[in-house]
Amino acid sequence: MRQRVWRFLLTYGFWVFMTALTLIPIWWMFVVSMRSRVELFSRPNLAISRFFVENYTNVLTDSTFQRYMTNSIVVSTCNAALVMALALLATYALSRYKLAGRDNIFFWLITNRMAPPAAFLLPLFIMFTRSFRIGDWTLFDTQLGLILLYCVFNLPFAIWLLKGVVDGIPIELDDAAMIDGAGLAGVLRHVVIPLAAPGLAVTGILSWVFAWNEYLFAANLTSVEARTITTGLAEFVTVTGTNWGELAAMSMITLIPSAIIVIVAQRYIVMGLTFGAVKE
């Protein structure tokens, strides 16, 4: 009995401690977002004495911020949809067809994720500003540019995740559907998509989060029109002085989708993050 009590206390003590370690940094940011400039520079205090919401209202009513927010939502959503569609087709091809150099293609796909992103800024910057040009229109500073670019990072990961899922669908099911007269589109729609749905959902969610979170490319390949929320965050830190309260408020707003996704789709994320790893 005594051992049991100790074990109980130890387990919960440990987890409460870990939870505190996870949450205190975020809590502190919330505290900062609730303080005015004057209050901030007094003695650090982890408690909130009054709610100073001006930081939030300032940020939310700012038209620049609203534009950043819209851009982030549009870019992330379109990117996730595109990645899901393309990755499904590609994975199906890699899984079902005899293609020369299949394993090498697979590894090459993954190497796209290894590159130090800073290295590719220069060629991409030149491509975006000069190579893709139709009259006055360039890919630079457009939502489309970011949507296509993020595919480079999301597609390899998505294919890696989906590979295990599609490999797990018996090819006999495809054959059966084909005997029943279904074409390739029919097989995809009636066999592969329903069976791979959880995997697809995870792929979509993780791609969405990646696009929402990306900073370096968004910061250097956009200027005014297509800036996203993460670049907006970094813009707060200036040489002349940073408005820490508003920075914190905006960061808190950036966290909201992540929080919702973690709470709602936790189970699927766990599945998704581990497909590639544990498909034995």
């Binding site: 387990t11 440990f14 987890w15 870990m18 939870t19 949450l23 940094p25 975020i26 940011m29 900062v32 901030l40 007094s42 003695r43 650090p44 982890l46 990755a87 087709l89 590609a90 091809a93 067809y97 005899k98 293609l99 293609i105 796909l109 796209n112 290894m114 590159a115 130090p116 992103p117 800073a118 290295a119 590719f120 800024l121 220069l122 060629p123 491509m127 296509l148 670019l149 595919c151 480079v152 390899p156 929402w212 979170n213 900073y215 370096l216 993460t230 965050l233 970094a234 830190v237 820490w244 960061s251 950036t254 966290l255 992540s258 973690v262 766990v270 581990t274 790893a277 544990v278 034995e280």
Partner: protein, 291 residues
């Protein structure tokens, strides 16, 4: 397995097209520019072929070698801590206790936070003036803590930040790996009189090896690429000038395109070699098991 490879390639083509245009062409371009002298502020405009000069320069560039050392130090310490901590947490999560899923949800949260926001969170914690960390360290332990002045503290802070951000990932993969281990070998080992450590070393660890390697593989790739959060945390100050940040500095503020390209290429090469070795280790093992 179908032989009609034309349809296969057709299905693969949009993916390949995007990856070639936005992934491979830039790579070729970096390769090409790396053999040239190209600086916007130089007297001569445009590219000038310079052979291997950039690569020669790179070997003697203290800033570069220091940045590689720092990056490796950062990656090693961060990943080692994450693996140990992540494994312990996963082990604890295999037990059943009330409230487990709540703890797990909270523990997973940092994983989904934008790196730039992670940087902001930690900057707010350690900022001199109103950050609680320097304040309490000074008051309770009499430690002067200022990441702008002490490179070691800056490095340590970025490692802790990375551990905060990425340990959940290791926990989740390890948890999946642990729950995929069949029961019988563990029971058998216990029956044979193995103690906990022996069970772990001879049964659990071999089963976990593929998962462990994959996890480390992903973490190495990401740790070497780290830019956003460390940039937001320390603004590229001493102690956190990692290779990714150094490349950005050479390419953008200094506009030394040729040199920046050669550094990028070497970094990419090092990462690919490291990961290729791991990949062989994983897939070799898998083939052995199937046959």
């Amino acid at each position: 397995m179908r032989n009609n490879s034309r349809i296969g390639w057709l299905l693969l083509s949009p993916t390949l097209l995007i990856l070639i245009v936005f992934g491979f062409l830039p790579f070729l371009y970096v390769l090409f520019v790396g053999f040239n002298e190209w600086n916007i502020f130089a007297a001569e405009e445009g590219l000038r072929f310079s052979g291997l000069d950039n690569y020669r320069r790179l070997v003697f560039d203290d800033d570069f070698t220091t940045s590689v050392q720092l990056t490796l130090k950062f990656a090693t310490f961060a990943i080692a801590s994450e693996v140990v901590l992540g494994f312990l947490l996963a082990q604890m999560l295999t037990r059943k206790f009330p409230g487990k899923s709540l703890f797990r949800i909270i523990h997973t949260f940092p994983l989904m936070v934008a790196p730039i926001a992670v940087g902001a969170i930690w900057r707010l914690l350690v900022i001199p003036g109103f950050g609680p960390v320097p304040f309490f360290l000074d008051r309770w332990f009499d430690i002067k803590y200022q990441i702008g002045s002490f490179p070691e503290q800056a490095l340590l802070t970025s490692i802790i930040m990375d551990v905060w951000h990425w340990t959940p990932f290791v926990t989740l993969t390890m948890l999946a790996g642990l729950s995929a281990i069949p029961r019988e070998p563990v029971e058998q080992a216990k029956v044979d009189g193995a103690n906990r450590l022996q069970v772990f070393w001879y049964v659990t660890l071999p089963f976990l090896r593929p998962v462990l390697l994959t996890t480390v593989f992903i973490r190495i790739m990401d740790a070497i690429r780290t830019v956003d959060e460390v940039w937001m945390l320390a603004g590229g100050g001493p102690g956190t000038r990692f290779t990714g940040i150094y490349i950005w500095r050479v390419v953008f503020p200094r506009t030394d395109y040729g040199y920046g390209s050669s550094i990028s290429l070497i970094t990419l090469y090092l990462t690919v070699v490291l990961c290729w070795l791991l990949f062989i280790a994983i897939s070799g093992r898998r083939k052995g098991e199937v046959e």
